[in-house]
């Protein structure tokens, strides 16, 4: 116990020093930093998405078996990846918050959750849209999609739990525990669903059997993935900023920042 305390004390000292990166663990500094970062990531997301979608729909060659329909994988696969990465990120920030006792870590986890759930949703729908013309059915209970569905439930559970708890400290930590337990279970769930699927499907209808990738396709996939990543970061940081303001609403700096934002919006309206 005391080694964690020693480490925590060292981290807290670093957080107070004005030159260290650790200082962004403080809500006020975090708010300032994310204010600078969000526009960069936002524009990067837009740029990458435009390039990626153009490449996906106009540049990449059509698949000789699946025709044009397969192009939806350029959205489906990044969405699926993001949904998994974001859950792990939530668990990561939960662990950081529990060990270092920083509120901002928990806020980041909360801010990531709706975006992760959105990607799950996108992955599920694009998977269904791909399945229908390709294999004749919207939903084939294959391993990947079923795991994706269960991941969606894990996200919804996290969001529901955190929203149900009024005390912010309890909500933060309960969410962190849930995210950690969930992320340990995600590989277990995936493995067991894979097992279950091979029993019941035989020669499986695999919605992940993407056509063998030509370089153009690979590059397009990467561009779309980076676009999804940038978007997620931009949106999560923006959400985290609002949450930080709400949490710190009783402090002077937050009230000033909120007033400044309102004033700016009023000025823009005129």
């Amino acid at each position: 116990m005391s080694r964690i305390d020693a480490w925590r004390a060292a981290a807290e000292t670093k957080m107070r020093s004005p030159k260290s990166w650790w200082r962004f663990a403080a809500p006020k500094e975090f708010f300032w930093l994310t204010g600078k970062l969000v526009p960069w990531f936002g524009w990067a997301a837009v740029l990458l998405a435009v390039v990626g979608l153009y490449a996906a729909f106009f540049v990449a060659p059509s698949d000789f078996r699946q025709g044009e329909v397969y192009r939806v994988i350029y959205i489906h696969v990044p969405a699926a990846w993001m949904s998994m990465i974001i859950y792990l990120a939530m668990a990561f920030w939960g662990i950081v918050g529990l060990t270092l006792n920083t509120r901002v870590s928990f806020i980041l986890a909360h801010a990531l959750a709706p975006t992760g759930a959105l990607w799950c949703f996108v992955a599920l729908w694009t998977g269904a849209l791909w399945g229908k013309p390709t294999w004749g059915t919207y939903w084939a209970w294959d391993a990947r999609m079923t795991s994706q569905l269960l991941l969606m439930f894990l996200y919804l559970g996290y969001i529901a739990l955190v929203r149900s708890i009024e005390d912010p400290r309890r909500a933060d930590r309960a969410g962190a525990i849930l995210a950690i337990v969930g992320s340990i279970n995600v590989p277990i769930i995936y493995f067991s669903v894979q097992w279950w699927n091979t029993l019941h499907q035989g020669a499986s209808v695999s919605l992940t059997k993407a056509p063998s990738m030509a370089t153009v396709m690979l590059v397009t996939m990467l561009i779309m993935t980076f676009a999804a990543w940038s978007y997620s970061i931009a949106v999560a940081l923006a959400r985290a900023r609002s949450m930080v303001l709400l949490r710190e609403a009783h402090t002077d700096w937050a009230q000033k920042a909120a007033a400044a934002m309102v004033a700016k919006r009023e000025a823009e309206k005129e």
Binding site: M1, S2, D5, E166, D167, P168, R169, H250, T251, D252
Partner: protein, 216 residues
């Protein structure tokens, strides 16, 4: 070396800061009354000291070691009696007291348990389920535990005198005095005046209330 020391303690309920800059030292043999109006944070303070709530700010030292280091030792030497009775209504007073003792690592004989229950006036009811007992009687079940808590140096009692008849108020105060004389430390929150025969220190929590509009 003080038995219990509080340094710059602050307590919070939700987002509201209840008290701050609370520093105090406690020695064995003291009986301390924590007073203050409703809502000032007496229960919160006691729960913080017991270790159920995290400290909002400051440090608690037990035998000169911060609680984060000495937590196990602290848990072994304290006895916390909260608002809630910690007694299950399906069990009898006897079963409840035996269980609460087991939680303290004490395994008294049946005779000792019966004697303790007799002292709190529950001799006749000792095998009835708590469901059929009155609120006052249930409170006394929780108090009976204190007869076996002599090995626990520090007693943290939250409103122990509520709903007690005068006779049992006396029993409890004698118990507390005996424990203090044996070198124990008792911190209790109470509205009532209790007829203690030993000098009692009063700590008014209201004095540590923060000024209005305090940004944490």
């Amino acid at each position: 070396m003080a038995l219990l020391r509080w340094h710059d303690l602050a307590g919070r309920r939700g987002e509201r800061l209840l008290f701050h800059r609370l520093s105090a030292t406690f020695e064995p043999g003291e009986v301390v009354r924590i007073t203050g109006e409703n809502g000032v944070g007496k229960s919160t303070l006691l729960r913080m000291v017991a270790g159920l709530l995290p400290v909002a700010r400051g440090t608690i030292y037990f035998r000169d070691q911060p609680l984060s280091v000495a937590r196990d030792a602290w848990l072994a030497e304290q006895c916390y009696l909260g608002h809630a009775l910690a007694a299950n209504e399906l069990l009898s007073p006897r079963e409840n007291v035996r269980f609460l003792c087991a939680l303290m690592g004490a395994y008294p004989s049946s005779r000792a348990v019966d004697e303790a229950l007799a002292q709190v006036g529950l001799a006749a009811q000792r095998d009835l389920p708590l469901k059929v007992l009155s609120a006052g009687q249930r409170r006394r079940v929780g108090l009976a535990r204190l007869f076996f808590a002599r090995t626990r140096t520090v007693w943290l009692l939250d409103e122990p005198l509520t709903a007690l008849d005068q006779a049992f108020v006396t029993t409890l105060t004698r118990l507390i005095e005996a424990h203090a004389q044996a070198g124990g430390l008792i911190l209790l929150t109470t509205h009532q005046e209790a007829p203690f025969c030993v000098p009692v220190r009063t700590l008014d929590l209201g004095a540590f209330r923060p000024a209005r509009r305090r940004a944490a």
